[in-house]
Every structure is written in C-alpha cells, then in structure tokens.
C-alpha cells in the first residue's frame, strides 16, 4: 500500500465501526502498522490509530492476537 488508502477510496471520516477496513492496518499480532508500512498520510494515520483504539475498546478488534 504505497498510496493513501483513504484518499484513494474517498473516505473522509475514518469510522471505528468499519472493522473490515481497519483490519487491513493491523499486523498478524493485532498491532497497528506504522505509517511507513501503511503509506497513509500523517493526518489519516492519526485518525486511523484513534479509530482502531475505539474499535478495540468496544471489542470489535483485538488488542493482541495470540
């Protein structure tokens, strides 16, 4: 993913309920991928991390995959 996924798909607001999209940005152990690997702009990366953390809080995404 070299280009910004969110601007490419015209996603203006990153929602914590979009689990299928957020899962793309998680590593095999459930960690958030770095912006280096995601290719997402700095602004969107910040929004992405908070969305993932909100999803984790509500049990939609795991904190750790064992």
């Amino acid at each position: 993913m070299k280009q910004d996924y969110f601007s490419a798909n015209n996603i203006k607001f990153i929602d914590y309920k979009d689990v299928e999209i957020l899962k793309r940005f998680l590593g095999p152990t459930g960690r958030i991928l770095s912006h280096k690997r995601t290719g997402v702009t700095a602004k969107n990366q910040r929004a992405l991390t908070s969305a993932i953390k909100h999803a984790r809080f509500l049990g939609l995404l795991p904190f750790v995959v064992k």
Binding site: F13, D15, H54, L58
Partner: protein
Amino acid sequence: MQDTEVEKKNNMLEGTDSRVYELGYLLVPSISEENLPVNYGNIKELISSFGGEVISDEMPKMLTLAYPMQKVISNIRHKFKTAYFGWTKFMMSTEKVLELKKNLDLDSNFVRSLILKTVKENTIATKKFMRGESYKRPTVKRSTENETAVVINKEEIDKEIDAMVAV
C-alpha cells in the same frame, strides 16, 4: 418584537452549542432477543430525554467480542464473551452529553459505552461494498430498457429492410 429577537438569539445559541455525537454501546448478552427492541427504544428515549435529536442508528446485534470483558454488576463480577453491539448518532448540546454519559455509566444493561464526536454524514465506508447489491438492480433495469429499445429497433430495421427490398 423583542421577545422574538430573544428567541432567535436563543436558537442561535442552541445551534452553536449542539454538536453531532455518536454513542456506541455494548449491551449485556443476558437480554433476550424479545426484550432487545425494548432496550433499544429505551436508549433512544434516554437520548431524546436529554434534548438529543437522533440522526441515524442501528439495531443492536449479537457479536462475539474480540476479547473477554469484565464488569461488576451489583458486586458480582461478570465475564462477557458476547454482547449486543449497537450505535446511535444524535445532535445534543455539549453540556447535556456529560450528563448522558453519567447516566449511561450507571446503567447495568451496558457492558461498555463510548461517546464520540462525529459528522452528520454517513461515515461507514464498507457500505460502499454492500451497495454492490443495489448497484446490480439498476443494471437489471437498464438491461430491460435496452431489450425494449432493441425490440423497437428491430421493428424499425425490418421496416427499413422492407422499404429497401421494395425499392
């Protein structure tokens, strides 16, 4: 005249104070499916009782949680592996939201709840992929339209051919 002006000012103030929020929540799985709409209605009522204006929402759905959660309800620790997840988008004044949050924290039906600032527009992007079904429908309609158009064309072509043959 003065009264109307004051009202206008109040409306303006309300407009600036109110904001779009989203409440995401997990309901206790011990609620039966029959009682789920009742709980769902109660949440909506609770929001409207705090002067909130519901914009959009989704019915709570049973979900297996990504990790087990614990909550102490009346001094008994409960462990949840499943829960009903639902969300509601609403407009509410900034001060009332804090009161709503306090109210939700005391509610024993909630495993967890989360209030976020959002935008009025639909934010779920995965529905774009879901729309694939609805996208098929217009194409089907178009195909029927094309067929009728083709039929008309055939007749016209036949007529034209007849005319050509006659010549």
